[in-house]
């Protein structure tokens, strides 16, 4: 996980005196790196190049494809599927914000208020991982079922009127609406938000809270001025770990949504596996990758945390 889990040993000796002796084995690191790095080069980096080349090919399944530097594929893909791109970003961003809002109190609870329940709550956060996420996503179909207790309650509280007005739901249904998809995305990626948040909160010395209180900070001010800034590394890696997979997800949109909630992941999957239009699929996938890398880079720059691995 790209959480910032660095526990460096306290540096007791000045630098020139700690360097481990490396008289033997100048080649050892390369041998250690070789198999793993080779694996990543062949099965991660090389495929990216293949994909880039596929995206500028033309031809057909029967006659085969040739690289013709046909960049128009990108333009066609964008102009045809821009709503799906916009939707992916919107849904993923909403899910990320929801994850932060929901996950922060729980991470805070585990870090500072759980006492002897800490380990148990931790297990309960992680344990759902061990049930296939598809099974758990399908359970939302039951929870959000038409005429079910959840929809009934939302209806009675007039929440549905509001979400209908916002265009998040339609009529008396939650299932097959954007709300259901965002709800599923939030649920699926919530632990990826909670764990890094917890890691950075847990490192905060509780005495800092007391010190802030001692220096006339109200509890909420303490949170705003001390706790939250110190948890920023967790917030940054948590939002990245939530946003990136959510933007590329197609499972939630497929299981909980409708044709009106299709995200870019759905399009790539259909193009690749059903329509077999490889250039378009490759172009879409490339645009998604570029867009996400761009957003992530900008975000990391802005939040000033470059220390992610």
């Amino acid at each position: 996980m790209s959480t910032i889990t660095r526990a460096e040993a306290p540096e007791l000796t000045p630098a020139p005196e700690t360097k481990p002796p490396r008289r033997r084995g100048r080649w050892t690191p390369y041998w250690l790196l070789l198999p793993g790095i080779l694996w990543l080069v062949v099965f991660f980096a090389l495929p990216m190049l293949y994909q880039a080349s596929t995206s500028v090919q033309t031809g057909s399944l029967e006659e085969g494809y040739k690289v013709t530097w046909h960049f128009a594929t990108y333009w066609d893909a964008l102009s045809q599927y821009w709503p799906q791109f916009v939707r992916s970003v919107l849904y993923a961003a909403s899910a990320t914000i929801l994850c932060l809002l929901l996950g922060y109190p729980l991470a805070y609870l585990i870090a500072f208020r759980a006492g002897r329940w800490r380990n148990l709550i931790m297990i309960l956060v992680i344990a759902p991982f061990f049930t296939s996420f598809l099974i758990r996503t399908l359970a939302w179909k039951t929870i959000l079922a038409d005429g079910g207790p959840v929809v009934g309650a939302l209806n009675a509280l007039h929440v549905l009127d509001l979400t209908n007005w916002l265009g998040w739901t339609a009529g008396d249904r939650v299932l097959a609406t954007p709300l259901a998809v965002v709800c599923g995305l939030t649920y699926n990626f919530l632990p990826f938000m909670i764990l890094p948040l917890y890691t950075s909160l847990e490192r905060i010395d509780p005495r800092l809270h007391e010190a802030a209180g001692d220096l006339y900070a109200q509890p909420f001010t303490t949170f705003r001025k001390v706790t939250f800034p110190l948890s920023m590394p967790g917030v940054v890696s948590g939002t990245l770990l939530t946003f990136i997979p959510a933007a590329g997800d197609y499972v939630n949109a497929d299981l909980l949504g409708s044709t009106d909630t299709r995200m870019v992941g759905n399009v790539i999957q259909t193009q690749f596996l059903r329509i077999l239009d490889y250039p378009t699929a490759a172009a879409l996938s490339f645009i998604l990758m570029a867009a996400i890398l761009l957003m992530v880079t900008l975000y990391i720059r802005k939040s000033g945390t470059e220390d992610l691995v």
């Binding site: 007791l12 000796t13 000045p14 020139p16 005196e17 360097k19 002796p21 008289r23």
Partner: protein, 383 residues
């Protein structure tokens, strides 16, 4: 009985450089069998690097390391009959105390380790703790485990890298005596690295004061203290008052010097600098050797003592003694420690006084050195 010198450590021209940085300049050093030897210096002075070269954890850039007659320069650490007590102990966290102590024996293929380990744990008074993990012990206990783990292998030489650095003051005193006791009992050569001058002086037979990768001076603790040969040693070991003076003349065994308006006498034997007439030397004297007399009583001071006049700038009472800072024309901050016997109530800040001492307590240093070398490096936290 023939003299066994298999425990001698002999360093010849040994040095260590990292890129353009020289941690240890070429160094010759012999530590005789059975002695307690301390390498004393401030952080980064090269003392730990020297120790690690003896241990084999660092390969010297030049020179050789001999243990007795054997050249071990190119032997890896696990083939050297030398063991180390590491800074912050480096006890294996996944093994209990017994297994930590048994580690070296097992690696050398010793079959029945139980009796030896138990005896060793008794020696360091930890027989009850054999099955605990290191993190369950206090700092002092961990320290003793580290010593036991090294000693059980009967090394030719035991190396100690700031072994007491992590302990609080009281425990440190206690462990100093304890280590000294163990050393006397087992009779192994100990090489001890520390930044604490008091620790070095209490424990070691011989101390080497290191500075910037060189040995400044080597000798018995009293010798180093009473007769420092560089300004660094004079300032690093305790406190010294250093006065710049000009050589006036020689008379018999003494050198007569001019400082300010007065004259000072310095035994030739205690001057490490060239004392040519008209040349400059630094004259030093330790603060506790000096007596203070009120200027009105100056006539009562016996003849033949070195004297300097000044005014008390500050005084602080610290129980066993009173420390005065004197403003004098020859030295702006002259320090004097006076025993609290027969205190003169007139000696308050502002009073004109005469400082005087036995010329035999004077030492002379080469004036070409930095007069403040080694000042303030004493309390620094350690390499």
């Amino acid at each position: 009985m023939t003299t066994d010198n298999s425990g001698d450590v002999r360093l010849s021209g040994i040095s260590k450089t990292y890129g353009s940085f020289t941690a240890v300049h070429p160094l010759d050093l012999t530590v005789p069998q059975g002695s307690f030897f301390a390498l004393l210096g401030a952080s980064g002075c090269g003392k730990t690097t020297t120790l690690r070269m003896i241990a084999g954890l660092e390969e010297p850039s030049s020179g050789t390391v001999h243990l007795g007659e054997q050249d071990v320069t190119h032997l890896p650490p696990y083939k050297r009959p030398v063991n180390t007590v590491f800074q912050s102990y480096a006890l294996f966290p996944h093994l209990d105390i017994f297994e930590n102590v048994a580690f070296g024996l097992r690696r050398r293929g010793v079959k029945s380790v139980k009796k030896q380990v138990e005896e060793m744990l008794e020696l360091v008074q930890l027989g009850e703790q054999a099955r605990k993990k290191p993190h369950q012990l206090s700092g002092g206990q961990q320290q003793r485990v580290a010593v036991a783990r090294a000693l059980i292998n009967h090394p030719k030489v035991l190396l100690l890298d700031e072994p007491l650095g992590a302990l609080d003051l009281k425990l440190r005193r206690q462990m100093q005596l304890e280590l000294k006791r163990i050393q006397t009992e087992v009779g192994i050569t100990f090489v001890h690295v520390t930044h604490d001058q008091e620790e070095a002086m209490t424990m070691a037979d011989t101390v080497a004061v290191m500075n910037a990768g060189r040995v400044e001076q080597l000798g018995a603790p009293t010798d180093l203290y009473e007769n420092p040969q560089t300004t660094f040693v004079a300032n690093f070991l305790g406190t010294s008052n250093l006065i710049e003076a000009e050589v006036d003349s020689r008379s018999g065994e003494d050198v007569v010097l001019r400082a300010g308006g007065g004259k000072l006498t310095l035994p030739r034997a205690r001057c490490s600098a060239q004392a040519t007439t008209g040349g400059k030397v630094l004259v030093g004297v330790r603060p506790e050797k000096i007596s203070l007399t009120h200027a009105d009583d100056a006539g009562e001071i016996p003849d033949g003592r070195n004297r300097i006049t000044g005014r008390i700038a500050d005084s602080s009472f610290i129980g066993v003694s009173t420390q005065y800072v004197i403003d004098s024309p020859v030295c702006p901050e002259f320090e004097v420690y006076a025993q609290n016997i027969d205190r003169d109530p007139r000696l308050v800040p502002g009073t004109e006084v005469v400082l005087h001492w036995n010329p035999a307590h004077t030492f002379g240093l080469d004036a070409a050195q930095d007069i403040d070398a080694g000042v303030g490096t004493v309390g620094e936290e350690a390499a």
